[in-house]
Symmetry: D2
Subunit: 271 residues, 4 copies
């Protein structure tokens, strides 16, 4: 700031008191605020309702661990190589949380958000209205030869079990909003444009739900990373008891095959 | 493994089902397991009781955000410099979670654990018994000119408000065990050895509580990092709305003072 | 590979021999290949000429350290917070090497590359020909309200001293190619489009030179990061002898100003 | 500093000039200082001699790439998962540069340094003198059941080819000092203490050479990381042309074996 101070509503402390988001940390947060609730509160500076917290924690559960993903393998290998630094092993795993493996959540949330921002007039109030927007959206993506984020899954081809569950929880809690409505409509109408039926995937529905919860678009990926941090700690805990990282390393190293160098040629039209 | 497989009890999926820790993710985890509870479950492969979860989440709340710590500043500056990578900004912040700023939790938990592992015979059943062990422990540390982890705080000199609160919550939930008992005894007896009264700090009591919850010693730092991930997302969310990173950067860059190089001389006795 | 092997031309070893890029590491690399030369060789799998190495090392020198940048501050703060992990401090600093502070090198190299790839027919052989392409390029960028990467500098408003120097070295070594030629032409013609004269900055000319050296476009940022790794080690070495990180931390922490939480409102048209 | 300024001898700039270590970057560094030389200069704030640079670059060459190490696999997997962030892929790989895989260089350098610092009186001037110190050192390590850093190699059991080569280069350049002398003596005398002959490994001799060059002990690991940064860029360049990361990922994921959760039991004597 021009006055040389750095404003913050987050943690602050005086000799006899610690506050977090304006609340007394010891008296009003510890013991009464769950961790998912706190993470939501920290990100939005407003305390979520019980229903919002339940949906948010369902999203975190859906994203926490997907088995031997690249991020999990990376965390285990980094711990093998540098067991002195748990923070390094976790950070290395999180660095895989980019556009391909954890990015769908953010991509889908942002995509739906942008479509909604471009709607003229009031949003629909029934499925037919949503279907019309979805049809236009999927058609435009196809014309531009772009994927629709959140559509398709390489394993759950006939349906991702997380998707109907998250829709149901959001409905139960009364926090399903326009992002989920549009996402559901995309699920209904896309076959008539694409000529085949694809599942609405779990990462995508999580993005839609996070957007409906009013969380910042710029940080949707951050919540996937928060969930994954818990998962990576689980991976490390299992690695400590049933180590596999050295076997993974050896399975690669022992199967290396030396080849001759291949001088790089830049691929320019005139290169 | 010798058979070329990689065993895991964490996430697994088939075309129509996803399991996590043997439970059905959609039906039995999403919507019914809170995020703190899930993180505990992932780390120990056993589902915690309601009381254990409450203590665990109180610890996470205590450690989530402490204002403009080095980790928070680092995350904000990294985001300023590379806004294309939220994962990089979070990972950079977590890398500061080492021996100095977030390490006390782990150091204290391990220290108490090691003292308990060295006790001959049964553990004490009353304060007098714990005080005797604590007295011996603090005396030995002083003789070795080593600090007692968890003792002292540069701001909360007359008492860290998180400490009595976490003791109280653990008592209420019936999960206070030997690590907290020993830590409390250290709080009672250290003045007669050190000649002055120091507070039991919040990071230390968190380590004692995590150890009493039966979490793996090797990963105590990991839980502090999990808590901090939520805090760093809060820092980024605030940075997006009230940016301070550029001011911090300029406050350093504009106050740089060019000095002449100072050739390094190795500091060996014979160097 | 389908056959279960992992081909590589990089490091390999047998009990009595180590090879790197097909060369004997001990006999033919150690003692006869400089570090810049080796980095080039590793990235392209072809050994650079002496002149190419000189230009490449001039680029690395230009990018190694720019004083108290965010990356330097981050490395120092992370080391303050976690002195047990030099790798963590360096990694944290590198994570700031993204689109804003170190990205210009890559952005400029790719931009020039893309323009060249779109040229119909043969490339120009004189300044007039390059100027025509540059004029069209700058005009198109302006029409699209996009910056021309590599143009402008907030400090070196009348010229970045690295730019003419790198042009001169590349000329001396006979490795100046179409990327540098186009970049120079942009420097000549942009005032007639933009109505003011901006300097060709050092990061930009480095990107042009790396592209002319035939290095992979996808990794131009990687060379900036390699250069910066040396710089960050210098920052740590200085921090060990003249520590400033704690002062930086305190200058922020002591000037924090607690404000009330500001509940986040999503910024959708319909939010 | 108390005066609110941050002193540095590294990069500085004014509108028309950039300096690095007090030298004019454009005129006196670019084009005339090699990258290894510059890295040495940045770390010590003194410009190395030609011979020192040659030894330093030989060390960097020895450590740059060792094929499919965990760090290389991690960088490739992270790039697979987050191709949007080259900085994240490199940082993740460097985070594996800890105590096990890249740490021997630092461990060995520090170990030799500490032995030398404990020698009473003048250092030896002949092999017999060094052998006496080495004998005492190896005997003490064995008595304490500790390894001698730098001794032994799982592949190069009859001798690591890098070791005699680095000794020879250091001799040629006249920069072999007490750390290398002690390391050589350990190579001569350890069989009479340990009862078998182990090779002096390449990582160890690199640590000895870096110590003899007068580089800061705290940062020896940093030079291994600098070397590895070049290697990891090479790994990424090869991954772009001959991708293997997805095959590595699938080789793990497709061979996962679901097992039942195994509730963790803390391993305390009283747990």
């Amino acid at each position: 700031m021009a006055d040389g101070t750095y404003p913050t509503a987050l943690g602050a402390s005086s000799p006899d008191r610690i506050t977090l988001l304006g609340a007394d940390l010891a008296d009003d947060v510890m013991g009464s605020v769950g961790f998912g609730e706190l993470a939501f509160w920290l990100a939005t500076q407003r305390r979520p309702s019980r229903g919002e917290t339940r949906v948010f924690e369902a999203v975190l559960a859906a994203l926490a661990d997907h088995g031997f993903t690249p991020t999990a393998i990376v965390t285990r290998l980094t711990y093998l190589s540098a067991p002195d630094s748990v923070q390094g092993a976790l950070a290395a795993g999180l660095l895989g949380g980019g556009s391909r493996f954890l990015g769908v959540t953010e991509d889908c949330g942002r995509f739906l958000h942008d479509v909604l921002a471009g709607v003229d007039g009031a949003l629909p109030t029934d499925d037919a209205g949503w279907d019309a927007i979805a049809l236009e959206t999927v058609t435009a993506q196809r014309a531009a030869r772009r994927f629709v984020p959140g559509l398709g899954h390489h394993v759950h081809k006939d349906g991702d079990p997380r998707t109907p569950r998250l829709f149901a929880i959001a409905e139960e809690e009364g926090v399903a909003g326009p992002h989920l409505a549009l996402f559901a409509a995309i699920g209904r109408v896309h076959p008539q444009v694409l000529g085949r039926t694809l599942p609405l995937n779990g990462a995508g529905v999580c993005g839609a739900a996070l957007a409906d919860l009013g969380l910042p678009m710029e940080l949707l990926r951050g919540f996937a990373l928060l969930a994954r941090t818990a998962g990576l700690i689980g991976q490390l805990a299992e690695e400590l008891r049933r180590p596999v990282a050295n076997d993974i390393f050896l399975s690669v190293d022992l199967n290396n095959r030396s080849i001759a160098p291949e001088p790089y040629e830049p691929g320019s039209a005139h290169g």
